[in-house]
C-alpha cells in the first residue's frame, strides 16, 4: 500500500511538471494561420499516435477524417486543412 502511495505521488509529480512545461512552451498570442501539416502534427497525436499519411488513399482519408471530426470534435477548418495535407502527402 505504501509503495502504491509513493508511486502515486511520483505519477502526480510527473503530471504537475508536464503541465508546467507544456504551458511554458506554447506560443502566446492569437491563433496564427496554421498549415495542414502542423495541424496534423499537433492534433492527430492527442489520443493515438499520429497516423502515417501513406496509410490510406484520398477517398479513405476523407471518411477517416470525417470520423475524427465527429469523434475528436475537431474544428471544421482544422479538419479541412488536415485532410488536404493527408491527401497531398500520401
Amino acid at each position: 500500500m505504501k509503495a502504491l502511495k509513493i508511486s502515486g505521488s511520483i505519477l502526480g509529480l510527473i503530471f504537475g511538471i508536464s503541465l508546467l512545461t507544456a504551458a511554458g512552451c506554447a506560443t502566446k498570442g492569437v491563433q496564427p494561420e496554421k498549415l495542414g501539416a502542423q495541424l496534423w502534427g499537433e492534433n492527430c497525436v492527442r489520443c493515438h499516435n499520429a497516423p502515417n499519411p501513406q496509410a490510406f488513399s484520398d477517398a479513405q482519408w476523407e471518411t477517416a477524417t470525417m470520423h475524427m471530426r465527429v469523434r475528436a470534435s475537431l474544428t471544421a477548418d482544422e479538419t479541412e486543412k488536415i485532410v488536404a495535407f493527408l491527401k497531398m502527402a500520401n
Binding site: 500500500m1 502504491l4 508536464s18 507544456a22 512552451c25 491563433q31 489520443c47 496509410a55 477517416a64 470520423h67
Partner: protein, 415 residues
C-alpha cells in the same frame, strides 16, 4: 530531290498521325478505366482492432482470446456519417457478439454535429477516446473503468449535439446529450448487489431520461493540453417500484497532455480522469439477513480515478529504441462505503510497449493490486466482491477470484 522531301514528309505525317491516333485510343481507355474506379460520393470503410495476450498470475497463467472489433463507417455525403462497432469476444468457450455503438452523425454547421443512436458517451475521456486496445497504452483498463467494475457510464442510446470551435488563443469542444441512463439494481435477485448501477441498457426502466454533457477546454494554441468537465444526471429506479425517485448524479474531470520533450528526444503523453457517481439515499435488503426482511442503507457514493504517463523516445536515432514506449499508471477505486459491495482498491501498472507501426503494439506490463483491509469498510461488512476485480476483463478478481499481482503480454492491432 524536292519530290523526295515531299514524299518523306507525307510518310512522317501519316505515321505520326497513326501514332497520335493510337495514343488517343490509349488515353480514352485509361480514362474509362479510371472512371470505373472513381470512388463516388458515398463511401464505405471497414476499420477496427483486435487484441489478445498472455496473462500470468501467482498460481495460474493463460493465453487470453482477447477480442476482435470490426468498425463500419459509411460516409453517405459530406454531412452524413454512420459509425458502427461490434465486439466479438470469446467468453467461457462461447463466441459472444456485442454492439459497442451504432449511430448516425449529421453535420449541422461548422460547430454543431447531431448524433443519434447508440454512442460512446463523452463522460470523461477513457470510454470515448482511450479504451480501444491500440490506443490504451496499457494492457488493462484502470480500476472502475472495466466491464466488471464500472464507476460512470461509457455507452448509451439517445441523442447528442456536439462540436468544436476556436476560442481565443485555444479551442473548446462540447457535447450535450439525452440518453436512457443507467438502471438501479434493487438487490431483489442478489441482495449483495443492491444499490449498484447497470450502465449497458438497451431499454429504459422509466420515463425519465438522463441528461449529460462534457465541456473540453484546450487553453494552449498548440492543442497540447485539454481539460474536460463532464456531468450526467437522471432517475435510475424502476417506475413501478419504491425506488422510482432514486436518481444518480455523475461527475468527471479529465486531463490530457501530449508534449514533445526536446531534451529527451521523446514524446510525453499524460492522461488522467476522475469519476464520481452518487446515487440518492435508499434502503436495500440486507444481505446479512437470510430471511430478507431487514433493510439497510449506506451512502451510495463511488469514486474512481487514474493518471497514466507514457514516454516514447520517438526522435532518437536508434531504430529499436525509437519504437519503445515506457508506461505507468496509478488507479484507485472506492465503492460505496458501508455497502455489501464496498471496496477500496489501488492499483499500479507499469511496463513498456513496442510499436510495430502507429497502430500495432506489443505491450508488456506488471500490475500490482491492493485492496484495503476489511476493517477499513463500514458496517456493511466491506466484502470484496468479484465485481471489484482487476484491471482487465480477464484479470485476476474479474470473475470472483482474489485480485493479485499479474504480468501481462498483450498485442493489439488497429486497422
Amino acid at each position: 530531290m524536292k519530290n523526295m522531301a515531299v514524299i518523306c514528309t507525307c510518310i512522317l505525317l501519316f505515321l505520326g498521325g497513326g501514332l497520335f491516333a493510337q495514343e488517343e485510343n490509349e488515353l480514352t481507355e485509361i480514362t474509362t478505366r479510371l472512371n470505373e474506379l472513381k470512388p463516388g460520393k458515398s463511401r464505405f470503410m471497414m476499420r477496427g482492432y483486435a487484441h489478445s495476450g498472455l496473462e500470468i498470475y501467482e498460481n495460474s497463467s493463460s493465453f487470453v482470446g482477447g477480442s476482435f472489433n470490426p468498425i463500419f463507417l459509411w460516409q453517405q455525403s459530406e454531412r452524413l456519417l454512420f459509425e458502427g462497432e461490434l465486439e466479438v469476444e470469446l467468453e467461457d468457450g462461447q463466441t459472444v457478439v456485442g454492439l459497442e455503438y451504432a449511430n448516425i452523425s449529421y453535420i449541422l454547421s461548422k460547430a454543431a454535429i447531431l448524433r443519434v443512436g447508440r454512442f460512446l458517451l463523452p463522460f470523461g475521456i477513457f470510454g470515448d477516446r482511450l479504451h480501444p486496445r491500440w490506443i490504451n497504452r496499457l494492457p488493462t483498463n484502470p480500476l472502475g473503468f472495466t466491464h466488471d467494475a464500472q464507476v460512470g457510464p461509457t455507452t448509451d442510446m439517445g441523442v447528442e449535439l456536439r462540436g468544436g470551435m476556436p476560442m481565443g488563443t485555444g479551442k473548446i469542444n462540447y457535447s450535450l446529450y439525452i440518453v436512457n441512463g443507467p438502471t438501479l439494481n434493487e438487490g431483489m435477485v442478489d441482495a449483495e448487489e443492491g444499490g449498484q448501477l447497470h450502465y449497458a441498457n438497451y431499454n429504459d426502466n422509466n420515463k425519465n431520461k438522463a441528461v449529460g454533457g462534457r465541456l473540453g477546454i484546450l487553453p494552449l494554441n498548440n492543442s497540447s493540453v485539454e481539460i474536460g468537465f463532464s456531468g450526467q444526471r437522471g432517475k435510475v429506479g424502476d417506475t413501478d417500484s419504491e425506488y422510482a425517485d432514486v436518481s444518480a448524479t455523475m461527475l468527471a474531470v479529465d486531463f490530457s497532455m501530449v508534449k514533445n520533450l526536446t531534451a529527451l528526444n521523446s514524446v510525453l503523453d499524460v492522461k488522467a480522469q476522475w469519476n464520481q457517481v452518487s446515487v440518492s439515499d435508499a434502503s436495500y435488503i440486507s444481505p446479512e439477513d437470510p430471511t430478507g426482511t431487514t433493510e439497510y442503507t449506506f451512502e451510495n457514493k463511488s469514486n474512481a480515478w487514474f493518471a497514466r504517463a507514457a514516454l516514447k523516445p520517438a526522435y532518437v536515432d536508434n531504430a529499436v529504441l525509437k519504437n519503445i514506449e515506457f508506461t505507468g499508471r496509478y488507479s484507485r477505486m472506492t465503492l460505496a462505503e458501508g455497502a455489501a459491495w464496498a471496496t477500496d482498491q489501488t492499483q499500479i501498472t507499469f511496463g513498456f510497449n513496442y510499436w510495430l507501426d502507429w497502430r500495432t503494439v506489443i505491450k508488456f506490463a506488471y500490475q500490482i493490486n491492493d485492496t484495503a483491509a476489511e476493517s477499513d469498510h463500514g458496517e456493511g461488512g466491506g466484502r470484496t466482491t468479484g465485481l471489484t476485480g482487476g484491471g482487465a476483463e480477464e484479470a485476476a478478481g474479474g470473475h470472483g477470484e482474489p485480485s493479485g499481482n499479474a504480468f501481462f503480454v498483450h498485442w493489439s492491432i488497429g486497422f
